[in-house]
Amino acid sequence: MKAKKMMALLLTAAMGMSALTGCGGGNGKESEEGKGADKKGKDVVTALLPPVSATYQDKITEYVKAFNEEHPDVEIEVTTASWEDTTQKLDVQVNAGSPPDIAFIGSDGVTKYLDMGMAVDISQYLSEEQMKDFDENVLGYFKNGDGLYGLPAYCEVQCIGGNREFLEKAGIDWKSVQQNGWTYDEFREAIKKGVVEENGATKTYGFLFACSGVTAKDYFSIFVKNAGFPSPFNEDLKYTYTDPKMVDFLEDLRAMIDDGSMPKELGAIDAGKRWNMMLTGQTMITGKGLSSFERSAANNNEMLKNGDADAVEGSIPVDYIVLPVPVFEGGTQNAYGAVDGYICLTGEKKPDEEHLKNVAEAAYYLASAERAAETCQELYLKPICESGRTAYEALPPIENKNEDNTKTVESLTKQIVPARPDIPAELGAKAIKIEDEVIVPKFQGLLAGEVTPEEMHQAIVDAAKEVFGEDGYVAE
């Protein structure tokens, strides 16, 4: 009896709720219906996109409009938000099994979505011609095994950058470094010379890298590429970070802090602070350095020249010089290329073939030609597809671009680490987890002087033993 009464109560409550939510939603529902009528018969391709470049969000509206006009039966629907937020939204949507058709991600995320069974192999939906449009190595970043899961938008070389005046004052032949690179020993000497002391305190550091929180990962992964670890796995798919030469590499990094060339508070300096220190002359070289920092520095120089109060407080004119990462003993010169682009996803077990074809078409559209050219130009990069390069030539050139930087970035882009589609998704995911849970935390401790290189190496070995087994990692 009692139970029955309770049920009845709950039922009425549920009805009340639905009535409540129903009437509250008048406005929202109307607009939805309106949209639906619009799209009659059209296949909707959804895309979740971050602000890839400063004006990307404005331009995307035009791109999409043009695409929709060209393709009467397909419509791209875009949602934009900041970088971090799009990642979070995408991850919730993927967990919920309803991702957008296209998302803009870093290529290192491909394995993660593939492992969830949600990435779509688009190689069968693209023409041979369309795939050949992209530089092979860069396209490889979106491959795994035989599948192609997305298309790259650009390849951004992540290296370091210096203040020209300071470099020259320290007697560094930066043009030669740009062309020929430098060894760790040369680099260490150079940044020692860059230090300027005033009243017993350091006024200018030789080198500075943003390492606060999770960005410590950048410092490690960009530099480790030149220390003989182009990838966490060797050809036999054994984990390499356990190699004893890791200790030497970590000792080398530590030495630059102990020399006084880098601030000992490195681990708490975030990207904004480090750029502020660069512009205010508190460091000679900074990292990570992107090609587009040249523009950011030039903008500030312009404001300084005009006496604009909005120039960064205490800043000085800075000529930004792109520099390669030094090569450590036992390593070869590689460049760390962040390849970002459009991944194709599905939440259905048997997706509609026609729809997937449209998705692939839309992804190709976004990643190629004028779209690629304009995005790359804004990031001070060269496009990585043929159609993009053709379109790039037609764009009005950037004013006052430093040609030495342009050449350096171009040659570095050619040196980026080869893609490794042979690493199985599952293995890649394990390596990422070791990196996040062991390497980055220990590395933060190392920067703070609270963990020794040996301790960190031991922690990596222990973790690798547990995750990959006795035979899964390099011991000697």
Binding site: G25, P51, T80, S82, Q88, K273, L290, A309
Partner: protein
């Protein structure tokens, strides 16, 4: 007569010294807590340029309202975002104050079968971290109920929160049961008791609940961001976050947006302050 002693005549200086000392402590703490707001406001008067990093200075260097203009011109929906936030926060606030005080009263003063069980259930649910409840909630609202891009999707999950029910219950517990008993003897029904006795006695806490709920809803970011894809259904917080770019930030306009989004809270706070300070005495109601 109050908690603090009042001094008279020659001893009056003691009161002044005491109050002065207390004021000093209070002001120091206030300076610390107010600092972020101060920083937010002065930064918003900077120019809407794409700065490499945040500006770190205590005194405004330039004064321009361009960033405010930039904020409103950034999207045609700037006003719509504020309106959306307002609608959602207002509905949620009203429903929370209403339903949470009813439920709080029931849990505090009425004895019914299952009373402890239901209350315990409410508390336990608060204890499961939202990181894991978010996904099923998203599946329910978006995949099952198909409510994305609607007001109900924004409102329904927080229509009445466990937190507010708990808050109301704790406050009503301290009201003397005797006045409820006497009201009952005079023939008041339960809704009448709530309306005529409990509510007037609890204006202070209901005002506190209102402002906290409104503020929480106004500032909430992630849920509206998850369930709204179209620009016109976004709330102000979601819109604001669009100012953060890859490696650079439109710093001043972001702060201008933050200042604009804070304004309604100022207004609400000061319009409700009357209730905050009305020290309701039980005696006054009785008489």
């Amino acid at each position: 007569m109050g908690l603090f002693r009042n001094y008279y005549g020659k001893q009056k200086y003691k009161q002044y010294t005491r109050n002065g000392l207390i004021a000093m402590i209070l002001i120091i703490v206030a300076v610390i807590t107010l600092f972020p707001i101060y920083y937010m406001v002065i930064s918003s008067f900077g120019a809407p340029t794409e700065a490499g990093g945040a500006s770190y200075s205590l005194i405004p260097k330039s004064f321009s309202l361009d960033s405010y203009k930039f904020f409103f011109e950034y999207s045609e929906y700037s006003f719509r975002w504020i309106l959306n936030s307002f609608i959602v926060a207002a509905v949620v606030t009203v429903s929370n104050v209403f339903f949470a005080s009813l439920a709080g009263y029931a849990f505090a003063k009425l004895r019914f079968p299952g009373c402890r069980f239901f209350f315990f259930l409410l508390l336990v649910a608060m204890m499961v971290p939202y990181q894991v409840t978010q996904v099923p909630l998203y599946i329910l609202v978006v995949n099952v109920l198909q409510m994305q891009d609607t007001y109900p999707a924004l409102i329904a999950p927080t229509l009445v929160t466990c937190y507010n029910v708990f808050l109301a219950k704790q406050f009503f517990t301290s009201l003397p049961t005797s006045i409820i008993e006497s009201a009952k003897i005079e023939g008041c029904s339960q809704p009448q008791i709530v309306w005529k006795i409990i509510m007037p006695l609890s204006k202070t806490i209901l005002a506190v609940m209102a402002i906290m709920t409104f503020l929480g809803e106004w500032n909430t970011f992630f849920w509206p961001f998850l369930v709204c894809n179209s620009e016109q259904m976004q709330t102000i917080q979601v819109g604001l976050k669009n100012f953060s770019f890859a490696n650079t930030t439109y710093f001043a306009p972001m702060m201008a947006g933050a200042t604009i989004s804070a304004l309604p809270m100022f207004i609400l706070f000061f319009s409700l302050q009357r209730y905050f300070l009305e020290g309701v005495t039980v005696g006054a109601v009785k008489g």
